[in-house]
Symmetry: C2
Subunit: 80 residues, 2 copies
């Protein structure tokens, strides 16, 4: 059993209204000096087996097919 | 200008129906060997200044006040 973390973030240039809202809310709460805020998603996935290379390939396929929208999002896969 | 990444994940034991839905969807797409899937959030935040200790404290306060619901969520702060 391996534990993997997939992080999906918006590509540069893609508008992020949710991030902008958080940025303004932080300003409103008195947090100065906050530049841009961008929000993304993280998936913690347990994968059977011990072959990291195979798991990496499988996680990449999961991202391409389901977890990320590769038109507007980047993803990164880490296996612990 | 420092770049920080805040990762917010559900605490153990908190139900994650969204993660469960993804787990089933992955199974339906033919990905075998997938154990549990848990979904979380990630925030990429730019902070002015160069004092990492101060930024760390400020990010912790942001998590406690806005970014995380500490009743059901854990958070981790990394400053690049």
């Amino acid at each position: 059993m391996m534990k993997a973390r997939v992080t999906v973030t918006l590509k540069n240039g893609v508008l992020d209204p949710q991030g902008k809202a958080i940025e303004h809310a932080l300003g409103g709460l008195g947090f100065g000096g906050v530049g841009s805020v961008r929000q993304g998603k993280v998936f913690d996935i347990e994968i059977d087996g011990t072959d990291k290379t195979k798991a990496q390939a499988e996680l990449k396929a999961m991202c391409d097919k389901l977890l990320a929208n590769t038109v507007i999002e980047n993803y990164a896969v880490e296996i612990a």
